[in-house]
């Protein structure tokens, strides 16, 4: 018997039992659509994290110090800047400060740094200018505001040329940063950037707790890392516990392995619901086989072979699961789109996930259809004919 004929017959009997078929498919629909939605969200967040990390700066190495045991001084930092692979570097002094303008007052992050910070951290100004070397040299009381901070104090006015009070000292605003959005839980937009020398005076510290270094070539980053590590080990022997050197690439690898795990986990959970849907199909097919025992007897009496009956029921379950799969894919894409736009999540659809979940639903149809179909095909025709 031709496959096409079997598919027609399967469609007929599915149509003949619309409600039941719909309920059976529901399991597969929910399974497939949740696979698609969850994996798309997970992949969306992966790509989000990747772009955020790139936003932090290109070829970036971050040097952090902890505690008070080790203090980075400017001369030592200059040595780091002279390393072969390092293109630019910017030391950072940071602290919490109170910023005031007339009646508005807010706590924010103060970042004291140099002129290279703009390029090292991929940070551009949207208005005015960034810090210059001269500002640093003359301990200028000037500030560059993050986009959110500028908004808080000046609304839609142009802040450039106006003044704010930082911990009681008056600062002239010279620029506003372009918005970067929040990156990995930290808002890069709520910040006041001032010259390093000014910040040291303001926060009354001379210890620099963070240095950003930019490597020259992407492919040499591991080499640059080694250089920096060596230099630090030479300058501060036996103090490796007091600082950490992080390569952006490492961060990216860590993050992507985390989100891969997340993707796998979410996909796995969703796949379980697909499996449950498959059990639903098996259940219904078993009911269908016993309900149609007489039909099977009749078909066998007029010449259906075991194979014909097996194929009929198997195709029925595969058609059910394939239809469920297609509807599930459409639903999943739809729900993903809606979630993406209403919750402002990044949702990345990939055709491989769609293909995978469709294939998986087909396999579920075959695997869970085989048992009932085999049962049907093995019925004894005489007993099946007697069945009422």
């Amino acid at each position: 018997m031709a496959i096409l004929q079997s598919i027609k017959m399967a469609l007929r009997s599915i149509k003949g039992n619309k409600l039941r078929s719909a309920l059976t498919m529901l399991g597969i629909i929910i399974g497939v659509s949740s696979v698609i939605v969850l994996i798309s969200i997970a992949q969306g967040s992966t790509s989000n994290v990747t772009s955020q990390i790139n936003n932090l700066g290109t070829n970036l190495i971050t040097l952090n110090t902890f505690g008070t045991e080790l203090s980075l001084t400017e001369d030592k930092i200059d040595k780091l800047g002279k390393l072969d692979g390092v293109k630019a570097l910017s030391p950072v002094v940071s602290g919490r400060v109170t910023v005031k303008k007339e009646k508005t007052s807010a706590q924010t992050t103060l970042t004291g740094t140099n002129s290279a910070y703009g390029t090292v951290r991929n940070t551009n100004v949207s208005q005015g200018r960034f810090l210059t070397d001269l500002d640093n040299e003359y301990r200028q009381k000037i500030a560059v505001l993050g986009a959110t901070t500028a908004e808080t104090f000046f609304g839609s006015d142009n802040p450039v040329g106006q003044y704010i009070q930082v911990n009681g000292t008056s600062f002239k605003v010279v620029g506003v940063l372009a918005s970067k959005g929040s990156s990995m839980g930290q808002s890069g937009d709520d910040v006041v950037i001032v010259p390093l020398s000014t910040a040291e005076r303001l926060t009354k510290t001379t210890s620099i707790n963070q240095v950003y270094l930019q490597g020259k070539e992407k492919q040499d980053m591991n080499l640059v890392m080694a250089e920096v590590q060596n230099a630090m080990a030479n300058m501060y022997p036996n103090k490796t516990d007091s600082y950490s050197i992080m390569n952006q690439q490492d961060l990216m690898n860590t993050m992507s392995s985390v989100s891969n795990t997340m993707t796998m986990m979410l996909g796995g959970i969703a796949s379980i619901s697909l499996l449950v849907g498959g059990i639903g199909i098996m259940n219904i097919m078993l009911v269908s086989v016993s309900e149609r025992t007489k039909e099977i007897g009749i078909r066998k009496a007029i010449g259906a072979k075991r194979r014909d009956i097996l194929l009929q029921f198997l195709i029925e379950s595969v058609v059910l699961s394939a239809m469920g799969g297609i509807i599930g894919i459409l639903l999943g894409l739809g729900v993903g789109k809606i979630l993406g736009s209403t919750l402002q999540m990044t949702v990345t659809f990939s055709s491989s996930v769609v293909m995978f979940s469709f294939l998986f639903s087909l396999i579920v149809g075959v695997v869970f259809g085989v048992f009932p179909a085999n049962k049907a095909s093995k019925l004894n025709p005489i007993q099946a004919l007697r069945y009422e």
């Binding site: 018997m1 031709a2 004929q5 007929r12 009997s13 003949g16 007489k294 039909e295 007897g297 009749i298 078909r299 066998k300 009496a301 007029i302 010449g303 259906a304 072979k305 075991r306 194979r307 014909d308 025709p381 005489i382 004919l385």
Partner: protein, 236 residues
């Protein structure tokens, strides 16, 4: 005379039920020629249906031999038997056994689907068959939209459609009133005149009498009328 269409010799079939053995068929021998109209008559439980299942290749005997068209059925596997049923045997059941979700035409087409006839040809043959039983204009009806007699005609059309060697009817009028029964019997007689071999199973003597030849079955044993004490077989 050529070899008979059906040659059955010393057929045995028994069922074990709780330690007790029921000999549903006990040493049955029977030859049926092509073109015959044979009635098998017997009381309930005598083994009629069991014999029909044998002849119809739905079941295999415990022992004995059954040759259909010269081929030994006992040695065939399930697939071969399905093919034989499909091509050589047309079943007509007491309760019609139509598929309720298919139209009359689709029901009649069914045996042809399993023998791999193309859709177009199938339709034509099924329509022809329905025409033979006088139901051409009902081809699109579902079984539930047909009377009992009409349903049995559809079943007969389905049995006929593959042009099988034998039509096997087990109590074909059992669920019909006497007028409709008569019509169905007439139809079968007409088919016999067209050359179809018909085996009719019944417990009703008046129906059996309308066949050309009659055998009686009792407790699994078969008796041919000649020389036996089959009572009012005078008509034969």
């Amino acid at each position: 005379m050529s070899t008979p269409l059906i040659q059955i010799s010393s057929l045995m079939k028994s069922y074990k039920l709780g330690g007790e053995t029921v000999h549903a068929l006990n040493n049955v021998s029977l030859n049926i020629d092509k073109g015959e109209f044979l009635a098998i008559i017997g009381p309930s439980g005598s083994g009629k249906s069991t014999l029909m299942n044998m002849i119809g290749c739905l079941d295999r005997p415990d022992s004995g031999e059954y040759l259909l068209d010269g081929k030994a059925i006992g040695k065939m596997n399930d697939n071969d038997l399905a093919t034989i049923r499909n091509q050589k045997i047309g079943f007509i059941f007491q309760n019609f056994n139509l598929l309720t979700k298919l139209t009359a035409l689709e029901n009649v087409e069914l045996p042809l689907i399993y023998s791999g006839v193309s859709a177009k040809e199938r339709r034509e043959m099924a329509l022809q068959s329905l025409t033979k039983v006088g139901l051409k204009d009902r081809s699109g009806h579902l079984p539930t939209q047909l009377s009992g007699g009409q349903q049995q005609r559809v079943a007969i059309a389905r049995a006929l459609v593959g042009n099988p060697s034998i039509l096997l009817a087990d109590e074909p009028t059992g669920a019909l009133d006497s007028k409709t029964s008569a019509e169905i019997l007439q139809l079968m007689q007409g088919l016999n005149e067209l050359g179809h071999t018909i085996i009719l199973i019944t417990h009703d003597l008046s129906i059996a009498k309308q066949a050309k030849r009659m055998v009686r079955i009792q407790d699994g044993q078969l008796f041919e009328n000649e020389g036996e004490q089959i009572g009012n077989f005078a008509i034969y």
